[in-house]
């Protein structure tokens, strides 16, 4: 058995991690196709012998025999009637986009869950489930990108410090100490007053202050490993520095890195959530878990808002922790329960 297939097998043996991965994959893949699941436009319209796909293309109302040259509003009962007279339409599972305001509410917004809005609506009459699906997508994507980018920077920075040591290490360490004692939140508030923060602004800005978490462990691992015999041997062979770092030292730092990753990932997701909660995050109107939490706080009479946000976050973060716990154990050769134990 190759080491890799053994690691995969070991991961699968950890039932909790395995099922968490499956569940998370389902949630993440579903939300990736949010436009096809929760949208205010039909997926396919069959109208007078032609096929239309409103999700991907905009059609003016006149195409369906309406009066205006503007883009058709498929939620409008008038347009619906036009289409159903000469054809049919397939709607997504949830007939609301995250921005769609349900104008046909029976009670004032926020309205409680009913058959149309399974998780109710928020204080602007928008479907909570639709916003949730889009919100999870943006949170997870943000968390993953921030984690990947800050890990890359952190590993490179830690590797350089640990490998070369001496002055480089000393100077870099002092720089990190100064840089990361800057108050991130205030910097963000200043940023918010200069530009309108969107996904990329936030990602870039948080990246500036989040890459340090891996530096310590990677640096320590490099400091330790560069003394090992096979690293010296590689030096003596005339192997270039970056190859030595990549091939001989970095694999040793993987377990330590993976141990840290879930904290970075969950940290990234909660950072975005808390910024949104405070109102310094994504632009107004964006679907986000933090904004849903803030609404829940503002509307205590509508518990479905706060509860939805709470359970979503709790489940999402727990799943991620379970998954990484499984990965870490699978990578660690010293863990008990090794399937090769006794050989």
């Amino acid at each position: 058995m190759t080491p890799h297939s053994r690691k995969i097998l070991k991961f699968k043996q950890n039932k909790r991690a395995y099922w968490s991965t499956v569940l998370f994959a389902i949630i993440f893949l579903t939300t990736l196709f949010a436009e096809l699941i929760a949208n205010e436009k039909p997926l396919i319209i069959f109208f007078q012998g032609d096929i239309y796909t409103p999700v991907f293309t905009d059609y003016p109302e006149t195409v369906f025999g309406g009066e205006f040259e503007t883009i058709a509003d498929y939620k409008d009962p008038y347009v619906r009637e036009l289409i159903s007279k000469n054809g049919w339409a397939i709607w997504p599972l949830i007939e609301y986009h995250y921005q769609t305001i349900n104008l046909a509410l029976k009670s004032p917004a926020p309205s409680p869950p009913d058959t149309h809005n399974i998780l109710g609506t928020d204080d602007q009459g928008r479907d909570v489930l639709a916003r949730l699906i889009y919100g999870i997508r943006i949170s997870v994507l943000f968390g993953l990108s921030l984690t990947v980018l800050s890990s890359i920077i952190g590993i490179i920075a830690g590797a350089i410090q640990g490998y070369y040591g001496g002055w480089i290490d000393l100077a870099f360490q002092r720089f990190i100490e100064i840089w990361f004692s800057l108050p991130t939140l205030y910097m963000l508030i200043i940023l918010a007053s200069l530009v309108e923060p969107n996904f990329w602004w936030l990602l870039g800005f948080l990246l500036l202050f989040s890459w340090s978490s891996l530096v310590g462990v990677v640096r320590a691992e490099f400091l330790r490993t560069r003394q090992l015999g096979y690293v010296k041997a590689a030096h003596a062979l005339g192997v270039k520095d970056h190859i030595i770092m990549w091939r001989h030292i970095l694999p040793n730092a993987v377990v330590a890195t993976v141990t840290m990753l879930p904290f970075i990932l969950t940290g990234s997701i909660t950072t975005l959530t808390s910024l949104d909660f405070l109102g310094f995050g994504l632009p107004p109107g964006s679907p986000s878990l933090g904004e849903l939490l803030a609404q829940g706080k503002a509307n205590l009479q509508a518990p479905w808002l706060g509860l939805t946000a709470f359970f979503t976050l709790a489940i999402l973060l727990s799943l991620l922790i379970f998954i990484f716990e499984g990965i870490r154990d699978a990578l660690d050769p010293h863990m008990k329960g090794d399937i090769n134990a006794g050989n």
Partner: protein, 519 residues
């Protein structure tokens, strides 16, 4: 006094010790000799029941009787009364068997308070006596373990073992981690204690010379079984079992070639000095230095070996690292007439193929994540020697040269034995066609019988490829077996240098003489 009958020790389904029986009488020194993995230490640990109780099981007929009581059937509380009080243990590594956080005094006092119920204030006197017994300055009582040398630490271990006047002392490779001259004094100390106190000693070692000099009875172990036992003299004179003969034949033999200074000079150092800063001023300027290597000038000739011999801390390895340009130094090192430290990094990297190294510990010098093929071809790739196809051929050729099967290419280091790993390390060096190889204690981590094979291999390679070796070792036998020219190093300085035959016949400096006597 101690009698072991049919001892079988199992870990799960693996039998580490099979049907071992022997006995120790009062005042007797019994030696167990064997290579690593032969079950010597497992046997010794069984006597004090120091295995993890859940992982070990003993054979049904096994019995270890100490003063006519079976230790295997005792309760934990009773065994604890024997441990340390009646039977004491000295471990191989004096570094790791002392707690670095406590003063020596406190650690010895612990044994005293457990077994003799002596409280701290009266313990001091007792410890002072013990220190005198083991020839240790009583002032060292309040030192921490790191402030002592290896020999001093081993003396502390012996003092601890003797603290409760035991009847039996088990010494598991008591001198393996020590320098030859220190080892000699430790063994003399044990001999003295045996005579004075009527102590019995069970000596475990892989070192035949040591066993021969100090033991009355000897048991040769192989794969968990005793293959031969008897009086020490008769076993050494008339070995009966093949394995014993094999062990006795594995002492390295002296090299026959003579030193020839007319050959081409390959690597040369002039006035090489290495200093390590100890104290630094506020601005990082070193204030005081430790001089690890001082004014060493050496020449290596093609097809010949320069042996550098010295004890630990003498600066041998630092010298090797400087020759390889992996350590900053003063002075010059030149390779075939070209001065190395003036070269740019890039030029130096290209030159590196010409001077290679084989490290002492084959367990740490091979990356556990790479296969043997990848390890050997790494240098080829770094120097862009040829296409992938001819890489493969060169790797295969190198494996043949070091007498390993070609299908080893896809194995990983953990699947290989120590000797095989060292062969891979040698293959990694020779695949680049170097002119000179630095051998840093190439065989000291290996068993004696493997050691001789690796030395033979190195000799063959030297003859076939006209290699120049710089051999670093603490072992006079190895130096004698390999070197054409010998340099003796002490405290960073060369105290004596001469062609091999001359040095071994007429050592001039007193230090060389003690080294030769200690063998």
């Amino acid at each position: 006094m101690l009698e072991i009958k049919n001892l079988t020790v199992k870990f799960g389904s693996f039998k580490a010790v099979k049907n071992v029986s022997f006995s120790i009488k009062k005042g007797q020194v019994v030696g167990i000799v064997g290579e690593s993995g032969s079950g010597k230490t497992v046997t010794a640990l069984s006597i004090l029941q120091l295995h993890h109780p859940k992982s070990v099981s003993y054979g049904t007929k096994s019995a270890i009787s100490f003063n006519d009581k079976n230790i295997l059937k005792m309760r934990d509380a009773d065994i604890r009364k024997i441990r340390g009080k009646k039977i004491s243990f000295i471990f191989q590594e004096p570094m790791t068997s002392l707690n670095p956080l406590h003063k020596i005094e406190k650690q010895i006092a612990e044994a005293l308070s457990i077994h003799k119920n002596i409280q701290h204030h009266t313990a001091k006197k007792e410890i002072r006596k013990l220190f005198k017994k083991v020839n240790l300055n009583p002032d060292k009582m309040s030192a921490y373990p790191h402030q002592l040398s290896g020999g001093q630490r081993q003396r502390v271990m012996i003092a601890m073992a003797l603290a409760c006047d035991p009847d039996l002392l088990i010494a598991d490779e008591p001198t393996t981690a020590l320098d030859v001259t220190t080892a000699k004094t430790i063994l003399e100390l044990l001999e003295k204690l045996r005579k004075e106190q009527g102590l019995s000693i069970l000596m475990i070692s892989h070192d035949l010379n040591l066993i021969r000099k100090h033991c009355h009875d000897i048991h040769v172990m192989k794969d968990g079984e005793i293959v031969e036992s008897g009086k020490c003299d008769s076993v050494f004179k008339n070995p009966k079992h093949d394995y014993t003969k094999h062990l006795l034949n594995s002492l390295p033999t002296t090299l026959k070639d003579r030193f020839n200074p007319k050959k081409e000079t390959i690597l040369e150092s002039k006035k090489l000095t290495v200093k390590f800063p100890i104290k630094k001023s506020l601005f990082g300027r070193p204030r005081t230095h430790l001089t690890a290597v001082k004014d060493v000038s050496l020449k290596s000739y093609s097809g010949q070996t320069v042996g550098i011999v010295g004890e630990s801390g003498s600066g041998k390895t630092t010298l090797a690292m400087s020759l390889l340009q992996l350590q900053k130094y003063e002075g010059t090192v030149s390779f075939m007439g070209k001065v190395l430290h003036k070269m740019s990094d890039k030029d130096l990297r290209e030159k590196r193929a010409n001077f290679q190294i084989v490290f002492q510990d084959p367990f740490s010098s091979l990356n556990p994540r790479l296969s043997v093929g990848e390890i050997i071809s790494e240098g080829l790739k770094a120097h862009n020697f040829a296409t992938d196809n001819s890489h493969q051929k060169k790797v295969q050729k190198a494996l043949e040269d070091v007498q390993l099967p070609i299908n080893f290419i896809n194995r990983y280091p953990h699947e290989l034995s120590g000797g095989q790993r060292q062969r891979v390390a040698i293959a990694r060096a020779i695949v680049l066609n170097p002119k000179v190889i630095i051998l840093d204690e190439p065989t000291s981590a290996l068993d004696v019988s493997v050691q001789i094979q690796v030395l033979d291999l190195l000799k063959t390679l030297q003859r076939d490829l006209d290699l120049s070796y710089i051999l670093i070792s603490h072992d006079m036998n190895v130096i004698q077996a390999m070197s054409h020219y010998v340099m003796v190093m002490k405290d960073g300085k060369i105290v004596e240098e001469a062609p091999r035959a001359k040095l071994f016949k007429n050592p001039k400096s007193p230090y060389t003489k003690t080294l030769l006597e200690a063998v």
